[in-house]
Amino acid sequence: MANSVTQRAGHAENLANKPGGRDQAAKICKGLGVKNPPFAYHRPETLDEALLLLAQIGEEAKIMSGGQSLLPVMAIRLGQPENIIDISQIRGLDSIETESDIVMFGALVTHSQAEASPVTRDSVPLLHKAMPYIGHRAIRNRGTLCGSLAHADPAAELPAVALALDAELIAASTDGARFIAAEDFFSGFLSTTLQQNELLVGVRFHQAPAGMLTSVQELSRRHGDFALVGLTCVLQLSSDGLVDSAALSFFGVASTPSRATQAEQSLVGSRPTTELFEEIANMVSNELDPPSDTHASANYRKHAAGVLTKRALADCMSQTGVLT
């Protein structure tokens, strides 16, 4: 704890009045604007320190890495955490590591870092394809994969990618670490099964097997917006050309990312044809129960989910050069 910066930092001038606080105040102001509610700011430099802090104040604490979701919410005072634990200075959390057939992204890996990595492109192609849809370049430069997963916005791309690829999320606490399957991680709108004393330290994916077909489809009002409807799709064909496995993982259609399991089951064992895809698309439209909001109606989202299904499946098949 000795090295961590722990200050009442919500108001820049409060901080500036304390010894050594001025630089820190400038830094905070730059990130937050000056209209956030008051909070205590902690910047642990080791993982152990962070976990200890969480154990002590987890209930009132919010983890910050890139701050791309948290800070805007605080600036308009929708979120008023009493404590911010800034993990950005912790060493050793910013790498992409490959071990046997597992690829692990640390908690501080940014979207841009993942986007530029050949490991992502070659081993987790679905993730690679999702990257350009995440916000804008400036957001991808600061935002992190794990931050997006822990934030669990149902209209964001990465939770759906994690769900499509059966990723595992690594949660650490002073009690040790555990792996949480993606399907058990997203529990509701902006909420996860992470415990209050747990920090998401990484996410791991299986390396894509040879012949894995992937597609990301998204409709958003403007370039870089959250999705009206989005789909991450994975298809595996068997040697006889039938669908061996399928994942249709949607975002923007429910309070969590969600798989169209009925449609997936109908795909498995079938021969991929445009007629089949038509049927699957209708099935998806019927299976999903999306919300209405000012950007699109529920009917629109149901319809568009079907359209994206057709497009994603066709996109996957175009990667084999075979579509009958």
Binding site: P38, R77, L219, T294, A298
Partner: protein
């Protein structure tokens, strides 16, 4: 450039300045170095010593009575200096009195803060002054207000429903203004028609969204009491006047006493007022004298408020110096005086210290300015052959809760009325106008405040063309004023001169569009399920319009239109132009310098534009707005600079013992034509003038000015927009593969700046059609408080916009016509027409301007409407 300059000088055989060095060229913006390197000075950059910060506490309710306000917890917070509520503001300020009311209009009397009830989400209830903005906002969260919710008025239907109580009880109803004008023999014309087509169009509410929100710093010198009001404003003199009359609370008797002891001031005011009244007698006589009587009948307190306005105008000691340096856009929203301005200044005066308020984006979206929410029902009388005889139109405008100060929907509805016939030859026209109040944010002027006249007309012409099986372009050409009909007159009154070239822009657009080729491509595309469309829209815009334009809008208001421009030779030989214009993105520093430099034979960098300081600029209430910066301000710069040139040459002639007719100025050097070696500089002239002693007591060597209105021709900017669309009926997404604007704004001062204005306007039109919508739910709860809810198009959403200029040879000098607003006027109808053209085979008729993906699929029958 040098070469052509030399050539011009050689050929010059008169004393006319070497025109054309800069005017007409895409000279790089002189503002850019400062603004793009972060060296601009916006109001947020102004930080007087000991400044404290304000935050407004705003209503979460759309309509509610305020039962009680508990400030104790907020006041107890460390760092909070004061909190003022409506009760305090009633004590410290005068209410906004109706300064620009029309006959048949009720304009509410109201204060800067809500006093007894709140009327929309975001209505300011209290101002918190604290040592930081953060603390002010912390305190805002601790204010406890007890509300009693009231029935809300959310739309036109409810506003017209007599069973819903009036949100301004003195008016008895939510209809604030109703009027009707008939031009020509409307009954007879409709009786003669082979067809009458009727349709109702509905435009959604959008919001002026400049990059910089509103904001101000009320700087008070605690010792002298001197007030400097730094503001993000379009019109500093207007702001100054309204602040002065709003914050002076001395009694009339005290005001008179003050005037009696300050006779100089009274004399100065008296002389100014007398000159104005004498000069403008005829204009002012056109005012409808019943306007005030109706208003006073409904609310007798109006009389007292107007009386106080009069005395305060003469006697207020609260006239601040208003200063604005760089302003980050406005689109009309900073032309009005904000309620917050008066509250901020009142608080600063009461505390005797400087206070700063910078609006945040959520506040701006809720109450920084909203516009365009209008319904119009139009009937068109037409002959079988496509001849259009007349229009009958009923308009309803939704003003929101509080009227803008001083110009509001009553005036804007009359602008729509004046312009709705467009460049078409109608025999008769009837317009019924209604303005209603609702529990929504303020309706303000937004880039082309009358724009929906073009939207409705150009949309309707496409519908008429379809019904009559005539091509939309042919129908337009058949009915438009062409060269053979000019000079002419709009059915609503304004004169049209030969330079009104709407028909020429349409002809050029038709040529560029190559319709036969498009129709082949459209049919082919349809066979593979692609839906292509094309849409046209033509308009002419009073920029600034002919002498009798404002008579057709609101008789009497033209008294305020002429604009003074000062041209000054400093004691050091420098040249300054002083204007009441307030640049906020229009590039005045560049274009005015181009004009002055050409007149004076100097370089652009040698001209300084002085603006944004009421102590040091000529008086004018309009500031920058109404596409006047080029034609009125620019014309004024031309002629004041020319006058200054003449005065400089007169002095130089004495100095050089030469005839003034033999003198020329090249690159800032004055010499006898053909003898460039012997020359005098402007500094030499300035020195000669000041050493003679005449100007010894003044700050400058030579000062001169002109008061300028227009170039003397029609002042019509004309344009045709053509939009191509590709509609994806699987997703409802629309792409714009091509967009063309053909325009004629007379003589261009700087083509790059003209094109920038047009492209920006088109982008906002694309925004309005596909992205931007200010949403209130059925109980008037505000749904668009962030940029995740209110979608502004980015560069990624805006296509390449091709621009073709028709620069008709000027029949007059300084034939600059405004282009600030046109881009936004022409684009929504062109886009809507293109979408309808793409979906026409499905029987789609577009009557709502806003077309997000959901709406496209609903219209096309792909999904069901909810």
């Amino acid at each position: 450039m040098r070469k052509s300059l030399a050539k011009q000088a050689l050929n010059a055989d008169t004393n006319a300045p070497a025109m054309g060095r800069f005017v007409g060229q895409s000279v790089k913006r002189v503002e850019d170095q400062r603004l793009l390197t972060g060296n601009g000075t916006y109001v947020a950059d102004v930080n007087p010593e000991e400044v404290v910060h304000a935050s407004f506490f705003r209503s979460p309710y759309a309509h509610a009575e305020i039962l009680s306000i508990d400030l104790a917890a907020g006041l107890a917070l460390d760092g909070v200096i004061a909190i003022y509520t409506g009760k305090d503001i009633e004590r410290l300020t005068n209410p906004f009195a109706p300064l620009a009311s029309l006959a048949n209009q009720y304009t509410p009397v109201f204060y800067g803060l809500a006093t007894d009830r709140v009327r929309h989400v975001g209505d300011p209830i209290a101002i918190i002054i604290a040592t930081s903005r953060c603390i002010a906002e912390d305190a805002a969260e601790l204010i406890d207000v007890d509300y009693k919710p009231l029935a809300t008025v959310t739309n036109h239907r409810e506003a017209n429903d007599p069973t819903i109580p009036a949100i301004w009880p003195k008016n008895d109803s939510n209809v604030l203004y109703e009027d009707e004008k008939i031009y020509g023999e409307i009954e007879r014309v409709f009786a003669r028609a082979d067809h009458v087509f009727t349709e109702t169009f509905s435009c959604h509410r959008v919001s002026n969204q400049p990059m910089e929100t509103r904001g101000a710093v009320a700087e008070i010198d605690p010792d002298s009491g001197e007030i400097t009001y730094h503001a993000a404003t379009q019109s500093p003199h207007l702001l100054r006047w309204i602040l002065a009359i709003s914050t002076e609370r001395e009694s009339v008797v005290e005001s008179l006493k003050y005037l009696a002891t300050n006779r100089d001031r009274l004399k100065k005011f008296g002389a100014g007022a007398k000159a104005f009244l004498t000069e403008k007698k005829d204009d002012l006589a056109k005012n409808d004298s019943t306007a005030s009587t109706n208003q006073i009948k409904k609310d007798p307190s109006t009389l007292a408020h107007l009386g106080r306005t009069f005395f305060n105008t003469l006697g207020s000691r609260r006239y601040p110096r208003v200063v604005a340096k760089d302003v980050g856009g406005a689109f009309g929203s900073k032309g009005a005086v904000n309620r917050e301005d008066v509250v901020l200044l009142a608080a600063a005066l009461d505390l005797n210290r400087s206070v700063k308020w910078i609006e945040d984006r959520s506040e701006n979206l809720a109450d920084g300015g909203q516009a365009r929410e209008e319904d119009m029902t139009i009937s068109v009388a037409a002959k079988d052959d496509g001849t259009i005889l007349g229009f009958r139109v009923e308009l309803v405008m939704d003003q929101g809760a509080y009227p803008a100060v001083p110009f509001n929907c009553g005036l804007f509805s009359n602008m729509i009325k004046a312009m709705l016939p467009g460049p078409y030859r109608l025999e008769a026209f009837e317009m019924k106008m209604k303005v209603v109040a609702s529990n929504k944010g303020r309706y303000l002027q937004y880039r082309g405040p009358w724009a929906n006249e073009t939207w409705v007309r150009e949309r309707m012409l496409d519908i008429v063309a379809r019904e009559l099986a005539i091509s939309p372009t042919e129908l337009r050409q058949k009915n438009m004023f062409g060269p053979e009909h000019l000079p002419g007159k709009m059915v609503t009154g304004p004169d049209l001169d030969e330079d009104m070239t709407a028909a020429a822009t349409l002809a050029k657009a038709i040529e560029v569009a190559d319709l036969p080729a498009f129709e082949v491509a459209q049919a082919e595309a349809l066979t593979i399920g692609r839906h292509l469309g094309i849409g046209f829209a033509t308009y002419h815009e009073a920029a600034p319009g002919p002498d009798n334009f404002w008579e057709s809008v609101n008789p009497g208001s033209d008294a305020f239109l002429p604009e003074r421009v000062d041209a000054v030779l400093g004691r050091d030989g420098s040249v300054s132009i002083k204007t009441q214009q307030l640049p906020h993105g229009q590039s005045h520093e560049t274009t005015y310098s181009q004009l002055a430099a050409d007149e004076l034979g100097i370089a652009i960098k040698d001209v300084t534009l002085v603006y944004g300081d009421t102590d040091n600029t000529p008086f004018g209430l309009l500031g920058t707005g109404g596409s006047r910066g080029g034609p009125v301000g620019g014309g004024g710069v031309t002629f004041s600079s020319r006058q200054l040139r003449r005065l400089i040459l007169d002095e130089a002639a004495d100095l050089m013992e030469a005839s003034v007719d033999d003198l020329d100025i090249i690159d800032g050097k004055i010499h006898v034509r053909g003898v460039p070696a012997l020359s005098k500089t402007f500094a030499d002239v300035a020195r000669a003038v000041t050493s003679r002693g005449q100007a010894a007591s003044t700050a400058n060597a030579i000062e001169t000015h002109v008061v300028y209105s227009n170039a003397g021709n029609g002042g019509w900017a004309c344009s045709t927009h053509v939009c191509w669309v590709d509609v994806d009926l699987e997703t409802g997404f629309v792409t714009i593969p091509r967009y063309v604007v053909v325009e004629d704004c007379g003589q261009m001062i700087n083509p790059a700046i003209v094109e920038g204005q047009i492209r920006g306007g088109v982008a906002q039109g694309i925004g309005a059609v596909f992205y931007e919508k200010t949403v209130y739910d059925e109980s008037a709860n505000f749904q668009s408080s962030t940029f995740m809810d209110y979608l502004i198009p980015t560069a990624m959403e805006i296509p390449e916009i091709e621009i073709f200029h028709l620069e008709t040879p000027a029949s007059v000098e300084a034939d600059f016509r405004g282009v600030g607003e046109g881009g936004m006027i022409g684009s929504p109808p062109a886009i809507n027409n293109a979408v309808e053209n793409a979906l026409a085979h499905l029987g789609v008729r577009i009557t709502e301007q806003h077309l997000p993906p959901t709406r496209i699929l609903e219209l096309a029958g792909v999904i069901e409407a909810e």
